[in-house]
């Protein structure tokens, strides 16, 4: 590299970007001088995964709090109560004296489910009429309702089979035949890919993929914001693309460490890696690679640190929400599905579902990988266009890439710009 920088090569720009970025990340001894980039590079890949893993480590929310009102008080209703109490999905927390009292307790969130055995329950059953077991809820949490109600229905089905067998036996059928007739169709349930049906495994892996996205995009954008606040180079200079890629290279160890932590530590430890932790980690790495051009493009335009967070944090939750990872894509309006096509998180999350829960092979997600690759190419071209345009306009006026002689990181401005 020469004194005036005019014959600096792409590699020189890359090295300059890398060197400056290391200084920015690790430099500064006072609170004012520190850039905060290191906090971002450490907190996002370490803290978020740890919190998410801890949050969902219970995997499923069993023992839903339930209230029971037994207005019948018969032997049958007491047996039914015992059976309901014994289900692992329910936890009886109270016995209100009336339905009204029970509903009020539901509204106060004292329980999620109210079970009501009416006063004439056994009388109806003995008379050959149907007895009703009512299950009430506010309906606020559809997920926990999906745990509690099937459990109650299962208890009722067991009692129905027993009572029906008794009815058939009374009609003269042998006991074994009576039992078969009482439950004539058996469903052989095969719960594929995710036998426990646990919520944690279903959700958290996708959340962590988004965390990786945020790590890569936010850290570089944040750093670019710091530089612009301090009047440092981002995409100015002879080889702006080389410079910003050098900045990205300085962050890469943190990105790789974050990926490795999530894919090779958190996922396997929580049982979320699926058939192959390596394949899942490789998928995360490919996704990370596809995100880098977006990261470069965003870093090229973000004006300050706060903007980096302000704008980018609004992408994470919507991308997860509308990706089809939780709420199926087939159930979304076409407009939403099409709106999600440009985002790398969409094919990545779909691939993650397949690799981490089903096949364990990247070969099973070739369509998604092709989609991701296409996006990466498009975004790389877009990033180049965004970064290089200023270079096309004024390469003669580009500042030198040499660091100032004092090499001290300038303190951040603390006054608001009018």
């Amino acid at each position: 590299m020469t004194g005036d920088g005019s014959t600096a090569t792409w590699l020189d720009s890359f090295r300059a970007g890398l060197r400056e970025e290391w200084q920015l990340v690790f430099g500064g001894h006072s609170r004012q001088a520190r850039s905060g980039v290191l906090t971002v590079l450490l907190a996002i890949p370490l803290l978020y995964p740890a919190v998410v893993a801890y949050l969902y480590h219970a995997e499923d929310a069993r023992e839903r709090p339930a209230l029971l009102v037994d207005l019948d008080g018969s032997a049958l209703s007491r047996r039914l109560t015992l059976a309901l109490e014994a289900t692992p999905e329910l936890r009886l927390v109270g016995r209100p004296s009336s339905v009204g009292e029970g509903v009020q307790a539901l509204r106060k969130d004292e329980a999620e489910v109210l079970l009501v055995i009416p006063a004439d329950f056994t009388r109806h059953v003995k008379r050959g009429e149907r007895g009703q077991l009512a299950v009430w809820t506010t309906g606020g949490n559809v997920y926990t309702w999906g745990i509690a109600f099937p459990a109650v229905a299962s208890v009722a089905a067991t009692f129905n089979a027993e009572l029906a067998a008794r009815a058939f036996a009374q009609k003269g059928l042998p006991p074994e035949a009576a039992r078969s007739r009482a439950a004539p169709i058996a469903t052989g349930d095969r719960r594929l890919f995710h036998p426990t049906g646990a919520y944690g495994r279903y959700t958290a892996a996708g959340v962590l993929l988004i965390v990786i996205q945020q790590l890569i995009v936010v850290s570089l954008a944040f750093s670019a914001g710091v530089r612009r606040e301090r009047g440092m180079t981002v995409t100015e200079g002879v080889h702006p693309f080389g410079h910003v890629v050098g900045m990205a290279a300085a962050h890469a160890p943190s990105w790789l460490a974050g990926l490795a932590f999530v894919g090779l530590a958190v996922f396997p430890w929580m049982g979320w890696a699926g058939p192959s932790a390596l394949a899942t980690t490789a998928l995360l790495a490919l996704f990370g690679l596809a995100i880098v051009p977006i990261s470069v493009a965003v870093a090229s335009v973000v004006p300050d640190r706060m903007s980096a967070f302000q704008v980018l944090m609004f992408f994470s939750a919507p991308l997860f929400l509308a990706s089809g990872f939780t709420w199926p894509a087939s159930q979304m309006p076409d407009a939403v599905r099409w709106a999600m096509v440009p985002f790398p998180a969409t094919p990545a999350l779909r691939a993650l579902r397949i690799v981490s829960m089903k096949s364990g092979e990247l070969g099973a997600v070739l369509p998604e990988l092709r989609w991701l690759a296409t996006q990466a190419l498009v975004y790389a071209a877009l990033a180049a266009l965004i970064v290089l345009r200023p270079w096309r306009r004024g390469s003669a006026a580009a500042p030198s890439l040499r660091l100032p002689a004092a090499a001290a990181i300038p303190a951040v401005r603390t006054e608001a710009t009018p």
Partner: protein, 377 residues
């Protein structure tokens, strides 16, 4: 008063002129629209299921027709081979495969247990469990029909036959969500979560960069501007977006809803201010605010239930205004909420605001002490 007004108008101008703030507001609106639109349908319908009928009898064909007739399921052409079926399940092209084996009807008629194999893709527990439940319902109905036929043949009057074989009926009553729709469950949670994140970020447009020379009146004026903007967006989200896209309009009167939003957003701004003060107006405070803000939805109990959240995380989450507001949401949307319904969450918000004010005051006091100590030194 003029300092307050100066701050109020100055902040509005700053929000209006700043490109990142404009973009953030647009992204918020886009995210809220996306939240509402994604769950617009509310219930899962037409999940693809392949039905292999190897029995080929009138009864098995009835089962097939009944399965296809359920709104949750949509019968698709069964894959030609086992490998193709497996591939379709892996790719997500099939939600479930139902196999009615040869001999199904014969077993049923002879009083032997007839088995139907149901293989459901539970990698997505929403669609997998929905498909399983729909199939189970159809098979239970068919089984009940078979039992009723038999018990009538054995001499039970038709009016009593069903009660003899299925004596206990389980009825579900979802007071506020009778259709078990995901729309009221998820769409408001996401939409107001975005509002919460927006409020925190807008608060930091007042707090950062730090302006120690700014008077309290001016700072309050700036916060008032942010509060006004956030409230306007909150009301638009409630009655414009959620109401317009999903039809979910709070049954609670609008004045009450506006008051609740005001309380929530004010608590949010105080929360951000307190975190800023606690971290001595440094950027770390902003990063902590962002971290807590982004985790709010997962910690709120709106999706993953509160009692399943580990106690230490619950303790931290208790400081975040979005958490009590989540309880407010569950009350104001389905029916007119009374003061006693809202007393708990409102009290919680008030406590958070009081603690935030205490932290802000303590931080200001300590700063003044430090400044005085610096001067005397």
């Amino acid at each position: 008063m003029s300092a307050f007004r100066h701050g109020f108008l100055g902040q509005l101008r700053q929000l209006g002129r700043s490109r990142p703030n404009q973009l953030m507001l647009l992204l918020f609106l886009g995210a809220a629209v996306l939240a509402a639109a994604t769950y617009r349908r509310g219930v899962l319908r037409d999940l693809p299921v392949a039905i292999l009928d190897e029995d080929g009898t009138a009864l098995s064909r009835t089962v097939v027709r009944d399965l296809d007739a359920t709104p949750e399921l949509s019968q698709v052409a069964p894959p030609a081979t086992l490998a193709a079926a497996e591939a379709a399940l892996v790719r997500g092209d099939l939600c479930a495969v139902v196999l009615i084996p040869d001999g199904f009807t014969a077993a049923l008629k002879r009083g032997r247990r007839a088995e139907v194999l149901v293989a459901a893709d539970l990698s997505n527990i929403l669609s997998g469990k929905t498909a399983q439940r729909a199939v189970a319902r159809v098979l239970a109905t068919v089984a009940a029909g078979a039992q009723v036929s038999l018990v009538e043949k054995l001499g039970t009057p038709p009016s009593q036959a069903l009660a003899r074989v299925v004596p206990i009926s389980t009825t579900e009553s979802l007071l506020d969500n009778p259709a078990t729709s995901f729309a009221p469950y998820a769409a408001p949670a996401f939409a107001y979560y975005f509002l919460h994140v927006l409020a925190l970020f807008l608060a930091w447009t007042v707090l950062w960069p730090a302006a120690p020379q700014r008077s309290l009146a001016e700072t309050l004026g700036r916060f008032a501007a942010v509060l006004a903007v956030a409230l306007a967006l909150g009301l638009f989200t409630t009655y414009g977006l959620l109401g317009g896209i999903t039809g979910l309009v709070p049954a609670t009167p609008a004045v009450v809803v506006a008051g609740l939003l005001l309380a929530f957003l004010a608590a949010d701004l105080l929360f951000a201010w307190a975190v800023c003060a606690a971290f001595r107006n440094g950027l770390l405070g902003f990063q902590v605010t962002v971290l807590l803000g982004m985790l709010s939805l997962m910690m709120s109990g709106l999706t993953w239930p509160w009692d399943a959240i580990p106690a230490p995380i619950r303790a931290v989450a208790s400081a975040v205004p979005f958490i009590p507001f989540g309880r407010v949401l569950r009350r104001i949307l389905p029916g007119p909420a009374s003061l006693s319904d809202l007393a708990g969450p409102l009290g919680w918000l008030a406590l958070q605001a009081a603690v935030a004010l205490a932290v802000i005051a303590a931080a200001a006091f300590l700063e003044r002490l430090a400044a005085r100590a610096g001067r005397t030194a």
